[in-house]
Subunit: 373 residues, 2 copies
């Protein structure tokens, strides 16, 4: 293998695949990036058994392809080297079978490579009927929901993000059983058969890091045990979680005793300040209490002190309510909402608290109250 | 105690004293900030037994002083609260002896205070003949030398920064015994008696964080067991280390077998890249080898690989040298030098390596070579 390429092109593409380079040293070859050079271009491939990433650099972006071939190079060193080399052309060459030379006029790195035959076959394949979506729409949807996935392995299925597609409606749902996030979008093309998959949250978190938010389309290829995202020159494949995701529709009431409208930023700041004297050990509990058109937010931790905040609100009915919940969960939910105002939909002090904007109800955030007596 | 003050004024001054708030909970009162309000203004005081900081906010910067008095408030909560309160006036009031109310129109915090009589008397005092220095000069001097202080407690004296004043010459010296940094400056006013003190590096590191680099003067008041820096509205006091700092003058040769001149940035990048395949466990050893007007920089770690870098240099004599040293130490030293070119002054492969700019020799960096055979 021997070729020459501009530093910035190689670095950009190495950065993409680096998100799948294994940092555990269980299977040594997976801590490397596989280079596969043909006269058509260069494939860079990495996998950590959770995520497989393959990028293709077309020959027109490569300055010189002198000799086809394959090699696996340690990801950690490779990224550092390419990042720190001077701008300009970088030459990469395999000598004596498994020795790699990376060089330009000033610098010359000799690295030990790994036999490319040791690299597992990743079976990255496309389906006949992918889902089409704008990259920006997908990225926003993931960013608005992923925070509610569980980080605990006690119920592994809740560490995933649920994609449910029925006809032209795609729902993306996450829940850790204390809170829930749901985003609904309309697909341009309806699917023939309903789809219901759960993608590990950590994996989809890596996808979000390498996907940009322009309005170009991407394709999602769904299989029974894996999903492939195809965009730009990148193929991003993740395994799926096999268990059944809980049906959350019964959790979300249709009627509400009280709907409160408040300024989103002001509400966030009030909750943030009320949380200052709470402790994570005590679930950062704060209390809401409405009184006419004033919302009073309080917290009380005897050894530290007490906070009381006041905020003007608009109510849809002449009802009042007291309810307590985790300030941290409320702030996480408010952060995903991009709007001047937010609506808080309430029933009793033990019913779920729902947040949305009212304008377009495609995003719904839910948190469970906490009993404080 | 009762007063009203603009948020940004209180926050700025709390940020200064926060650098002395104890994070260890050995003496509870030291995790607080002492407020001392008189009709002349507000003193804020904190101490962690290493550093004492006292700032004075004059009455003209306080909107209303309603009642003089003192209280100690938990530093951690106070900073968070003031930071997150809305812009504008903040009211602070002590009620029922030790209860503190911090409030504005929207927010109301009630905190438990600590009895101000429990706060130790810090004995912050000024001398009759302080040393005068521009803030900018002091800050630059510390930043250029402090990196060479030791972080190991095996020889406590080396964790400090040595200030040696003889007549109008101030030398600031740090060494961890593997490398050494020395900056010399000329004082406007000579001192009558020589001064030789060692300030704990960690303490002086906190000073650097709160001192700005304008050209105003500050005063340094030196005592046998403590030093006080007086600037703006801030008094910053540190204890001193009592042991004798090693005399380093014999370490620095007067003559050199070879003086190399190189572009500072290029040299830094070459050393940085050569260090990529080295390991900290092996002291990040790299090798310099001159050959005519080319400097070759190499490193070699059999399990990982080998780097070779080349750099044009100018030599003062037709000598050549091979020498090995820690790339990390070389980079730390090069970072302190602000110049286009740097000079490397060498004798044998086991003599100290000296770095300076040649223009003005007020800054000298020294590192010991490492034997590699």
């Amino acid at each position: 293998m021997k070729f020459s390429i501009k530093k910035e092109i190689l670095l950009e593409n190495l950065n993409y695949v680096s998100h799948a380079v294994s940092t555990k040293n269980v299977i040594p070859v997976l801590s490397g990036i596989k280079f596969d050079l043909t006269n058509e271009g260069l494939n860079l491939i990495a996998s950590d058994n959770e995520v497989d990433i393959k990028v293709f650099i077309e020959k027109k972006y490569i300055d010189k392809i002198e000799k086809e071939g394959s090699i696996v190079i340690q990801g950690k060193f490779l990224l550092d080297i390419v990042r720190k080399l001077d701008e300009g052309i970088i030459n990469i060459e395999v000598i004596d079978g498994l020795k790699i030379m990376i060089y330009n006029l000033k610098s010359n790195f000799n690295l030990n490579g790994i036999d490319p035959d040791e690299f597992p076959n990743l079976n990255i394949e496309k389906s006949n009927s992918p889902i089409e979506l704008e990259k920006k729409v997908l990225k926003t949807m993931i960013n608005q929901t992923i925070y509610a996935t569980s980080t605990q392995e006690s119920r592994p299925i809740l560490t995933g993000l649920n994609f449910k597609i029925d006809s032209d409606k795609l729902e993306c749902i996450a829940t850790d059983s204390y809170r829930l996030s749901k985003k609904t979008i309309k697909l341009e093309k309806a699917v023939d058969n309903p789809i219901n998959i759960v993608i590990p949250g950590k994996n989809i978190g890596e996808l979000v890091k390498i996907i940009n938010d322009d309005e170009e389309k991407l394709n999602i290829h769904i299989f029974t045990n894996k999903v492939l995202f195809e965009f730009d020159n990148i193929l991003f494949q993740s395994r799926l979680l096999n268990d059944v995701f809980p049906n959350i529709s019964r959790l979300i009431p249709d009627d509400f005793k009280l709907i409160i409208k408040a300024d989103l930023n002001e509400l966030f700041n009030v909750v943030d300040r009320a949380s200052l004297l709470t402790s994570e050990k005590e679930k950062n509990v704060i209390k809401f209490e409405t009184n006419g058109n004033i919302l009073t937010v309080t917290s009380n931790t005897p050894e530290i002190g007490r906070v009381e905040e006041k905020l003007p609100i608009i109510k849809d009915k002449n009802e009042d309510i007291k309810i307590a919940f985790s300030a941290k969960h409320m702030m996480d939910a408010l952060r995903t909402i991009d709007s001047k105002d937010v609506r808080i939909l309430l029933n009793t002090e033990i019913s779920p608290i729902i947040l949305n904007t009212g304008d377009n109800d495609d995003l719904l955030q839910l948190l469970m109250p906490i009993k404080t007596y």
